[in-house]
Symmetry: C4
């Protein structure tokens, strides 16, 4: 019961965050395709953030699958993650409207970094409650992506003041890392018997 409502609430908040970003896509003035031109950087930043929030939803989903116990600390670690994710739309809008200016890229990276840290905290809280030998503990394994991503975010934040292209490339690279199918997870999903998947 506890876990179900935690998932439902998180799904709700993440669904709203991912859709609220579209509200930054203001209806353009003018009725020609030229009127769409200024929207391009906003759309690009929206696509990137959509992918990021999608990655978090996927990972949140997988994280909670192997979990059986919840604590008050887990509830708050989860809300902490949702807080940083909820900062994504405003950081995205700022970056897109200012054509990826240095300060906006840096702030975007900070929001990504804090979300990643919040995810780690939630992961650790869940491991503490469920035990390292739980399904969750075994599923996480080495988690090299979780260790590389914060480093790349830091590079992205630092480089934003020197070369915005390097900075943007870092953020895109992390997204691609997570988008690539993860053999570990695919194996786990394939192992799920249809009957279970039907829930």
């Amino acid at each position: 019961m506890h876990k179900t409502r935690l998932e439902a609430f998180s799904d709700g908040v993440i669904a709203i965050i991912i859709t609220i970003m579209v509200l930054e896509l203001k209806v353009p003035h003018g009725d020609s395709f030229a009127a769409l031109r200024p929207l391009l950087p906003v759309v690009l930043s929206y696509v990137l953030s959509f992918v990021y929030v999608g990655i978090y939803w996927n990972n949140h989903h997988h994280l909670l699958t192997g979990v059986t116990r919840i604590s008050g600390g887990v509830l708050w670690a989860n809300l902490h993650l949702l807080f940083w994710l909820s900062m994504t739309p405003v950081a995205t809008g700022w970056m897109g409207e200012n054509h990826f200016a240095p300060a906006t890229l840096a702030l975007y990276g900070v929001v990504l970094l804090m979300s990643a840290l919040a995810f780690s905290i939630l992961q650790n809280r869940l491991l503490a409650v469920n035990g390292r030998n739980s399904t969750l503990g075994q599923a996480l394994g080495h988690d090299w992506k979780g260790k590389v991503s914060p480093l790349l975010y830091c590079v992205g934040i630092g480089s934003s003041f020197f070369n915005t292209w390097v900075s943007g490339a870092c953020y895109v690279l992390v997204a691609l890392l997570w988008l690539a199918p993860d053999p570990r997870i695919e194996r786990a999903l394939a192992a799920t018997k249809p009957a279970e998947a039907e829930a």
Copy 2:
């Protein structure tokens, strides 16, 4: 479990998209009925998009009913569909506020076309994972609507620069095609025994 959260998340995003479009209906200035006049094209475009998003919700619902297995690729194919659907409100607002100008009708058609393609990709991903002999595979059958719709969208996009009425008619026609009760689905629903429908 996987499938349940996929459905819940999609329901959340689609529910938000369908309701966020109303935010484009800005409270009119002036307190007479005349003040409502400029809202008319916006309301018309809203009605069309409401029906379209409703159709996608219905079809998404039916698509996942016959499904038992989910993969990482399915999760992303689903997010890809939600991305294009989330573009509907801004395309709708642009079209309504500019009284169905050519470029706005073309963009609207592109969003519809991309949503249709995204739905096909999701369908194919699900078939690949669940097998062509699954309940899903049999339920889909010939799927002539799914094949005709993209063609009509293309006609709508192409004709928008010559005759906006033809273009609009194409989009309305596809919506009516899907609104008409589908004997295939009705039969499947009727076959559901009450006990199952109670879930």
Copy 3:
């Protein structure tokens, strides 16, 4: 399964409608209580609409409890109801910002009336699919409130051009009718055994 997603989607849309109305409550300019004064009619109209949408959620909830079968027509009757409910925020905002001017009260009444008709249609669709002897058919009984409400909405719409107080009183009266505890429903709820209520 069908019913569960229908409920979840409707819950989502109604939850968004009820909360989106708050967005009409624009943050006032000025930091004194006097700055809140112009917000008063907006807040009043918001309270009325909050109660109305709450009534619809309650009734929707009760309506679907006794239901076991769903059809394609039910899905669309439900979307039709959600469409009219989604018009509530903009009608509410228009009424509040124009201090309950005649035309705004009339439009508000029209939205209420159409929502009531849409609810009747949904009810009839469900009765047609589930049968008059189903739990639903018996629970509905005489449904005098459902018959009196549209009449009062019509009186409200008609009187808005002569006396806005009479019009407003009609809308408040209908809300109070539905807010009053319904012995029929209370009895049905009390009869629910705890084990069932636990779901």
Copy 4:
């Protein structure tokens, strides 16, 4: 069934409230960090409200866990609570944009106080329906936090006109009170057997 939809609807509304507040964080004009400066009080007020709404979600969650019976009065007591929570975003935005001016702090306190009273009413309605000897009745115990909070809100409201720092400190203090892990709840959660937690 009843309880499930009550929880789902409340989760939806609370998820929207907590995310809608971010919409008050308007994308800043200018692309330097200096452009972020005016956002600081808005972000601070947002953090406080995020924590408050999070506390209500947690408490709502725990309140309904021990509940087996629902009545029409409970549904309305719940909607009443959601109404006051839905006032949080506009009160937060007003407070943040006016740098915690006296009247804005007082109004914020009133919204917090009314939410707390609404929560008490919901709690009492649930106790009346489920009985003081139910799991819920035993879990609530002395509930000293529930008694101290309204007092602190009153102090906060009263002091806002003399010293805004005292007022703000009251609101922060209540949030910290509820954030601190509650041994009662932790014990209850720890007692949940994994099998049950899996739901």
